[in-house]
C-alpha cells in the first residue's frame, strides 16, 4: 500500500440531529412559510438533506414586524451589558456545539471538514465573543457618546461561508442594539437554522433575530421592506448593484461586501516555500469560493518558472474528495450553477490562449467537483484575469518591477484584498501603500480576525465589517432622528476611512 493513500477518516454525521423539514424562524419560533418549500442538498452527493420553507412577502413582513416589536419593546431598551450577556452566551453555545456545526456546514456547503472545524466555526465563536465585549462600550466605537442603534437590520448572506457570514452580520448588529431579519443563501440554509436553535437555547428574546429562508425574491422583499432601517449584503457585485439601486432615495443605510479579483504579488526575494503555501491557501481555500481569494497571481518574471514548477508539485499533493473526510483539502463546488460558471470561464480562458493545468485527481461521479486549476500565459486582457471565477482557478501573470506589479494589481474594477510576498519589510510597506484594496496581507493570505476591519474599494462594495469599524455600520450618533437620511458622524467615519485609504495612493 501507499502511505499517502491515507485510510478514510470521515467525521461522523451521527452527531447531527436534523429535522426533515425546517420552517422559518420568526419571533423566536419555527413557523411554516407560505412560499414553495425547497430542498437543500449536499453538493458532494446531491442527496437531499432537508426540506426548507420559503418565505414570501407576507412572511418577510411578519419577520420585520417581529423584529420591530422586539426592537421597540426589548432590545433597544436593554443595557449594553445585558445585550453582551446574550452574545457571550451565544458564543459559548457555538463553541459547545462546534463539532455539530462544522459537520452540518461541510455537509450542506461542500467545504472540507478541516476548514469548517478549524476556520469557520472557531471564527464564528470569536466574532460573537468579540462583539459581546463591545456591547457595553459603544461610547468608544467612534460615533460619540451614547450612540443610537438604527432599528431593524435586513441582512442577506452568501453560501460560501454560511455560518461565518451570519456571525459577521448578526454579532455587530445585536451588540449595537439592532434587531435582525436575516436570509441565508438558498443552497446553504442549514447552519443558520441550527443557529436559530442555539438562539432558542440562549433564550434570546423573541424577534431579536429572525431567519427567513428562500431565494432572491425573499431577499428583495427584505431589501424593499419599508420598515427595514439598514440593509447589509454580502454577495455578488451584480446583486449588490441592484440593492444599491433599490434603496436609493430611501433613508435606509447600506453596507455591501461584494466580489473581488485579488492580486497575490510574489517578489523575487519572497520566502519561496511559504509563498507557495500562501498561493495555494489564497486560491484553493474553500474551493476558491472566497470573495477575497488571491485569484490573480502576479509573480516576478525572473522567478516565474520556478514558482510555477513548485506550485504544480504542491498542487499534486492536494486531496480532493469527501468533504467530511478529515484529510480532504478540496471539497465539492457548492452548486451545479456555480460549477457551470467555473467551467464556462475556464473554457473561455483556454479559448483565449491561456495554458491550463490541473493535477491528476479522481473526480467523484456524484456531486459537483472541479479540480484545482492553474492558468499560465495569462495576460491582463483575458477574461480569467478580469472576471471573478469564484472557484479553484488561478491565473498566473508576470511583472518586472514593483511599479508594474502595483499597476497590474490595481487594474481591476474590484478592490477587496491583495497579498504581498517579500522578505523586505520596506518594500512590503511601500507596495501596500499604493494598492487600492481594503485588506492587504503580507507574507500570508486569507487570515481573518474579528478585530480587523474587512471590506472593499470600488466594485467590491462599501462599508467595513469587523473591528470597531464594523460597529459604525450599525450605529448613529445620539439624538439622530430615524428620518434623517445621512448621519453626519457616520459620514465622518466613512470619509475618515476613505481618506486614510485614499491618501495611501
Amino acid at each position: 500500500m501507499s502511505f499517502l493513500d491515507y485510510a478514510p477518516a470521515p467525521e461522523s454525521t451521527a452527531i447531527l440531529n436534523l429535522k426533515s423539514d425546517y420552517g422559518l424562524f420568526i419571533n423566536g419560533e419555527f413557523v411554516d412559510g407560505h412560499g414553495t418549500p425547497f430542498a437543500t442538498i449536499s453538493p458532494a452527493t446531491e442527496k437531499t438533506i432537508a426540506t426548507i420553507a420559503s418565505a414570501n412577502d407576507e412572511d418577510v413582513d411578519r419577520a420585520v414586524a417581529a423584529a420591530r416589536r422586539a426592537y421597540d419593546k426589548t432590545w433597544s431598551r436593554m443595557s449594553g451589558a445585558d445585550r453582551g450577556k446574550y452574545l457571550f452566551r451565544i458564543a459559548r453555545l457555538v463553541q459547545e456545539r462546534a463539532r455539530e456545526l462544522a459537520v452540518a456546514e461541510s455537509l450542506d456547503n461542500g467545504k472540507p471538514i478541516k476548514e469548517s472545524r478549524d476556520v469557520d466555526v472557531p471564527l464564528v465563536a470569536a466574532w460573537f465573543f468579540y462583539y459581546a465585549g463591545w456591547a457595553d462600550k459603544l461610547d468608544y466605537a467612534g460615533a460619540g457618546a451614547n450612540p443610537a442603534s438604527l432599528g431593524v437590520a435586513g441582512q442577506i448572506i452568501p453560501w460560501n461561508f454560511p455560518l461565518l457570514m451570519l456571525a459577521w452580520k448578526i454579532a455587530p448588529a445585536l451588540a449595537a442594539g439592532n434587531t435582525v431579519v436575516l436570509k441565508p443563501a438558498e443552497t446553504t440554509p442549514l447552519t443558520a437554522l441550527l443557529f436559530a436553535e442555539i438562539l432558542q437555547q440562549a433564550d434570546l428574546p423573541p424577534g431579536v433575530v429572525n431567519i427567513v429562508t428562500g431565494a432572491g425574491a425573499t431577499g428583495s422583499a427584505i431589501v424593499n421592506h419599508p420598515d427595514v432601517n439598514k440593509v447589509a449584503f454580502t454577495g455578488s457585485t451584480n446583486v449588490g448593484r441592484g440593492i444599491a439601486r433599490a434603496i436609493a432615495g430611501t433613508d435606509k443605510r447600506v453596507t455591501l461586501e461584494l466580489g473581488g479579483k485579488a492580486a497575490n504579488i510574489v517578489f523575487d526575494d519572497a520566502p519561496i516555500d511559504q509563498a507557495i503555501e500562501g498561493i495555494v491557501n489564497g486560491i484553493f481555500f474553500n474551493q476558491g469560493h472566497v470573495c477575497c481569494a488571491g485569484s490573480r497571481l502576479l509573480v516576478q518574471e525572473s522567478i516565474h518558472d520556478e514558482v510555477v514548477d513548485r506550485l504544480k508539485e504542491r498542487l499534486s499533493t492536494l486531496r480532493l474528495g469527501d468533504p467530511l473526510d478529515k484529510n480532504t483539502d478540496i471539497g465539492a463546488v457548492n452548486s451545479a450553477a456555480q460549477l457551470d460558471r467555473i467551467r464556462t470561464l475556464s473554457d473561455i480562458g483556454e479559448a483565449e490562449g491561456a495554458e491550463r493545468w490541473s493535477p491528476d485527481c479522481v473526480i467523484p461521479t456524484d456531486g459537483f467537483w472541479f479540480p484545482p486549476t492553474i492558468f499560465t500565459n495569462v495576460s491582463t486582457s483575458h477574461r480569467i484575469a478580469r472576471d471573478e471565477v469564484f472557484g479553484p482557478v488561478l491565473s498566473v501573470l508576470t511583472f518586472r518591477t514593483p511599479a508594474e506589479a502595483i499597476a497590474k494589481a490595481n487594474n481591476t474594477p474590484y478592490g477587496l484584498s491583495a497579498g504581498i510576498w517579500s522578505d523586505k519589510g520596506s518594500r512590503i510597506l511601500a507596495v501596500a501603500d499604493k494598492l487600492r484594496a481594503g485588506v492587504i496581507w503580507a507574507n500570508t493570505f486569507n487570515r481573518f480576525d474579528p478585530a480587523s476591519p474587512f471590506g472593499g474599494y470600488k466594485e467590491s462594495g462599501y462599508g467595513r465589517e469587523g473591528g470597531r469599524h464594523g460597529l459604525a455600520a450599525y450605529l448613529k450618533p445620539a439624538g439622530t432622528a430615524r428620518t434623517v437620511t445621512a448621519s453626519p458622524a457616520s459620514d465622518a467615519t466613512d470619509s475618515a476611512i476613505t481618506t486614510t485609504k485614499e491618501s495611501a495612493k
Binding site: F3, A7, N443
Partner: protein, 336 residues
C-alpha cells in the same frame, strides 16, 4: 553502504555548483542568497501537516514504519557496557510478546561504547547493510563540539575503527554563528574523510546542526545547505542535550532543503529529527510531513531516522492496542 562508497570528498556536485573552489566568501554568497523562511508561514504549514488524521490501516503501517526508522539511543554519562547490552537486546527484540514486531534501524551510543554494541549485536549487526541493526556513534566532541579539529577527527576515526557504521557529528555552532562558514564546511569535509575505513568505504555521516542553538529558521536552512554541500549523508536536528530539540517546523524546513537539493542534483539526503519525539502521535506527524514534502520514498532507514529512546515503547503500546483492541500499560513493554 553501496552509495557512500561512491561519495568523494568534498561532494563533487557542490564543486560543480560553485564552479570552482569552495571558499569562505563563495559559501557566504551562496548561503546568503538562499530565499528566507517566513517563520509564521512555516509553522502554520507544519501545524496543517500535523492535523492529518491517520487511522486504521494507515496507522498500523505507520507504527511499524516508525519502529524501522528508529535510532534507539542512549547517550548518558552513566552509560556502561551493561546498559548498552540491554539497549541492544531491546533493539533486537522490541516486543517480546509479538515476534512480528520489526527491528529498529540502529542503536546510537557514545564512541567508547561502540565495541560493546558491536559485540552485543553479533549476527544482527548490519554493518551498513539494510538487513539487521547498524551501530551509530556520536563523535566530534559531542554534544558541544568544543574541541580541536585533531581531537574531533581522532574521536571519529576511533569510533569507525571500533566498528561504527554511522557517525553522528556535531557542527561547530560557534563558528557558524560568527559567520565562519568555511570553517564549518572544512570541518565536515575532514570528518567525512575520517569516516573512511581502511577498505576505502565510508561510515555514513549524519551532521547534527543543533537547531536549538541556531535559533532562527534562516540559520537552520543555511546550516542544512552547508552540511549537504560539505558531504553529509544525513542532516540531523539536535543532540538531544539542548532544548528545543527536534520540532516539526524545523524538520519541515530541513526536508524542504533536502527536496530542493534533490531537485537540483538528483542526490538524496537523509533527515533525522532527534530529541523530544516521545509519542506515536507525534512521530506519525513526522511521517506525514516527510511523505508530503519529499515523497514517500524517503520513508526508509537510508533516508529518514528518528533519534529517540522513549518513543519505541509508546509505539509498541499503540501497536499492541491495534492488535488486541485494548490498551495495556507500561509494564507490558520492556524497558531497556
Amino acid at each position: 553502504m553501496t552509495e557512500t562508497q561512491k561519495a568523494l570528498v568534498p561532494r563533487p556536485t557542490a564543486l560543480e555548483l560553485f564552479d570552482g573552489p569552495v571558499t569562505d566568501a563563495s559559501l557566504r554568497r551562496y548561503l546568503e542568497g538562499i530565499p528566507g523562511v517566513d517563520a509564521v508561514g512555516l509553522e502554520q504549514r507544519a501545524a496543517n501537516l500535523g492535523s492529518r488524521s491517520i487511522k486504521t490501516t494507515s496507522k498500523k503501517w505507520a507504527l511499524d514504519k516508525i519502529i524501522e526508522l528508529i535510532d534507539l539511543t542512549t547517550l548518558e554519562g552513566a552509560d556502561t557496557p551493561g546498559k548498552v547490552r540491554s539497549l541492544v537486546a531491546k533493539a533486537i527484540t522490541p516486543d517480546a510478546s509479538d515476534s512480528s514486531t520489526p527491528r529498529v534501524a540502529a542503536v546510537c551510543v557514545y564512541g567508547d561504547m561502540v565495541p560493546y554494541a558491536v559485540e552485543a549485536l553479533g549476527v544482527h549487526h548490519a554493518k551498513g547493510t539494510d538487513s539487521g541493526i547498524n551501530v551509530a556513534a556520536v563523535a566530534t566532541a559531542f554534544p558541544s563540539g568544543r574541541a580541536s579539529l585533531a581531537i574531533k577527527l581522532s574521536d571519529t576515526a576511533d569510533a569507525v575503527d571500533a566498528g561504527a557504521d554511522e557517525i553522528d557529528m556535531v557542527i561547530d555552532r560557534g563558528a557558524f554563528l560568527s559567520g565562519r562558514y568555511g570553517q564549518v564546511y572544512d570541518e565536515i569535509v575532514a570528518v567525512k574523510e575520517a569516516c573512511r575505513r581502511s577498505d576505502g568505504s565510508y561510515a555514513h555521516l549524519k551532521v547534527i546542526l543543533e537547531t536549538g542553538e541556531l535559533n532562527t529558521y534562516d540559520n537552520v536552512r543555511r546550516a542544512s545547505w552547508l552540511a549537504i554541500l560539505a558531504g553529509g549523508d544525513f542532516i540531523k536536528t539536535s543532540t538531544g542535550k539542548v532544548a528545543p530539540a527536534a520540532t516539526l517546523p524545523v524538520t519541515l524546513s530541513m526536508l524542504e532543503v533536502v527536496r530542493d537539493w534533490h531537485r537540483l542534483t538528483g542526490e538524496k539526503i537523509g533527515v533525522k529529527p532527534a530529541g523530544g519525539i516521545r509519542t506515536s502521535k507525534d512521530a506519525i506527524k513526522y511521517l506525514v510531513t516527510v511523505a508530503e514534502t519529499v515523497g514517500e520514498e524517503w520513508l526508509q532507514p537510508h533516508l529518514f531516522r528518528f533519534g529517540a529512546s522513549s518513543l519505541l515503547n509508546d509505539v509498541l503500546l499503540q501497536r499492541q492496542k491495534m492488535t488486541t483492541g485494548h490498551y495495556s500499560g507500561a509494564d507490558y513493554v520492556t524497558i531497556d
